[in-house]
Symmetry: C2
Subunit: 445 residues, 2 copies
């Protein structure tokens, strides 16, 4: 099976765990059998690989997520990166072009395209296989998944099929309705549109040729910012005559709010936390090292990260966004392809950061114009390169990097450092990247 | 007026703001007119000074509080320090001996002795003056404050007076009763015993001579650990025949639990925090830089510090102690006489600490056997002395201090540093203090 997982936008509805660079699919909240926790994207990827080890998986996403995806799924995962944000039509075309041109998938093969963040079980992936097989038959150009509604939701679009069979032609689509209208739709046999579909790869490539003069992946990438920002549903699905829907009645949950996310938690506390016996329906999700004590609460979610502490009645938690918008959003923690960092202290002219590199990984070779930096190694072993000079380092070593000097660190073991940045204008943008020359590379390996 | 403020033990009932070294009287929670916050001890000290600028104030406390008291009340405050914990009788004798021998107060003068932590208004201090004047008259040896009960409390001892007059002889004392018994006492005119009393200084010194062979302050200090651990009430007050009580009907609150403390807060939020409109009776006390968002809660207190996050129904908050005992108590923040520190990161063989020195202050000149240290100055100017070598430092400077080297820093302006400690056995006890010799002192000033 060829599958494209759409790893979508940031979001604040799961603040303080989601932020501008970390979307909900990266929050490690689901307990694995070995006691560790995995994120939504890790869970979905693992589920796919369990069902179809040889399958082709491509993640379609935008730039800010790339480091985190590599951190969570490894260096070898294939990623189609939007150079800038467009709507779902350009993103889906780009990912399909990547499949065809970069991964050399035969255009006659079927492709399944689905969001990365529904909370599902194995039967869902069986259903994706069914979609792909149906698309392969060629009875229709597009085969949608139609999810059996469990309540008259106002959050989803609806698909109205021609007949009640397992696979049927689509009669029409309906936009997100109000609850009463949703009831009517459901009475007429309507299904939720979860944005999941399958088609032959060439179908999308042909549509792209026709609609935006697509030639190949590199051409598309180069002029991506000029593409129209329209949705795939609007541009393609709603205009397609040869379109089928295949029913799915298994578990399918959108864990987009604290209320729904906590329902999927297997145990009430993730991270350091204690609930006293008088608590009922209370969840703690604590990413900090600071212990949380909850006493005598009812139907409350408590979530803490370096960026914020939320204490909310579960029902109310869906109204979080406008409040979060009022906080200054400083990213306090991020997962990078090489490891992670945590902002520990901010002064007007100094930042203190804890940097953790994974074994065998290194930062870019880079410099800063307007700040000096100091590293104090507190754990592990590795090498630093400063203006071409390589040096072995271990816990206790101090590395001085005045503004303008080029520097990197290569971790041999896991390597932890305290980085102090000092200057009048400390900005994330103040970073020039360089390539380590051969001699430096040699020295540093 | 001569007043001894008893600054008592630590406590966990206001966790996470109180801990083993910071008692509730040091929590900055009361809003001043200029918008800043003051602690209970700062508030009481300010109130006394407003009423009686020339009065003599002595704080009686134990060692762990000394740095914090200097930090909050200044270097010039007089402190009588118990070398080890005993009960109130030895502590009160020691403080009175300090008044007589170290501060040269005439033993004929009256002294008022009271706890540092009731929440009171100006009329209370007027009442203390009244107590002192009454003691000065010599009608009785001891004059207690009797607080008019506002409800049949089980938390206080009761004083039963001979008559309902403003000042009356004491008939008898009663231990903390149950609520029904308390009602009876109150019907008989009983008053709360808040541990507030006045007497002539010589009265206590004479009692001490008689009971423990007291000679002078230094003698007492030297053999303090051999003194009997008994309370002043038991040792003196309950045996005294010539004892009066003076009524006080003003505001007097013991803010010992979150429930009572939040009642005294003038505004619902101290520190970074937002309550949405659906919150009722919610208080936030946030000492961290991490913003708190509370939504849809009722009668809940939220308190956050580097040591913990409490989210509790207000009624339940009085049962906090056994839970707090289960947390590993690592002191994450402390106020010292020279400034403050905050523990930012703990690894198995490294600690990272933010150190802030107040202008003109310095650390002890000291060394460590088992750890190296690194300072990175991030704000301000000052001088360091390392093994006798003095050096001017400012933001961006890095100071290396291998194990065994003697070091200190003297702040000229406010001075902030990141301190990284590295070693296999990092322990608070690993500290040897030295005196800076004259040449070093000269260099470093």
């Amino acid at each position: 099976m060829n599958i494209i997982l759409l790893s979508g936008g940031s979001g604040k509805r799961l603040w303080p765990l989601s932020n501008d660079i970390r979307s909900k699919q990266f929050i490690k909240i689901f307990k694995r059998e070995d006691g560790s926790y995995e994120s939504m994207i890790q869970r979905v990827y693992r589920q796919i690989k369990q069902l179809d080890e040889e399958g082709t998986v491509l993640i379609a996403t935008s730039k800010p997520q790339v480091s985190t995806i590599h951190n969570q799924l490894g260096e070898d995962i294939s990623i189609s990166v939007e150079p800038c944000r467009r709507d779902t039509f350009p993103a889906i075309v780009l990912a399909n072009a990547f499949l065809a041109d970069m991964m050399h998938i035969d255009p006659e093969e079927p492709v399944v395209i689905c969001p990365v963040d529904p909370y599902v079980e194995e039967d869902y992936f069986q259903a994706l296989k069914g979609l792909a097989e149906q698309a392969d038959k060629g009875e229709a150009n597009l085969v949608l998944m139609g999810i059996e509604p469990t309540y008259p939701s106002e959050k989803y679009g609806y698909i109205i099929p021609e007949s009640p069979e397992q696979t049927a032609m689509v009669r029409t689509f309906r936009e997100k309705p109000d609850a009463d209208t949703a009831k009517e739709y459901i009475a007429r046999g309507a299904l939720w549109n979860g944005g999941v579909f399958a088609c032959k790869l060439k179908y999308i490539l042909d549509k792209a040729r026709e609609m935006i003069g697509f030639q190949n992946y590199n051409d598309l990438l180069a002029r991506y910012d000029t593409l129209p920002g329209i949705s795939f549903d609007y541009a393609v699905a709603e205009k397609e005559e040869r379109i089928q829907v295949r029913r799915f009645a298994g578990k399918w949950k959108d864990l987009g709010t604290w209320n729904t996310l906590t329902e999927a938690m297997e145990e009430p506390v993730v991270g350091k936390g204690i609930l006293n016996a008088a608590c009922r329906g209370v969840n703690i999700v604590n990413e900090t090292d600071i212990p949380v004590l909850a006493m005598g609460l009812r139907d409350v979610v408590i979530s803490a990260s370096a960026e914020g502490i939320l204490v909310s009645d579960k029902e109310q938690s869906s109204y979080i966004k406008p409040f979060v918008d009022t906080f200054e959003q400083q990213v306090m923690f991020a997962e990078k392809s090489w490891g992670s960092f945590r902002l520990m202290d901010m002064e007007t002219e100094a930042l203190t950061i804890k940097v953790t590199l994974n074994p065998g990984h290194s930062m870019n070779y880079h410099s800063h114009r307007n700040r000096d930096e100091v590293w104090v190694v507190i754990w592990g072993e590795g090498r630093t390169v400063v203006d071409g000079a390589s040096r072995r380092v271990r816990a206790g070593d101090v590395i001085l990097m005045p503004a303008g000097c080029r520097h990197t660190v290569i971790a041999e073991t896991e390597l932890k450092m305290i980085e102090v940045q000092i200057g009048e204008n400390i900005e994330v943008q103040d970073k020039q990247k360089f390539v380590l020359d051969e001699r430096e590379q040699h020295l540093s390996q």
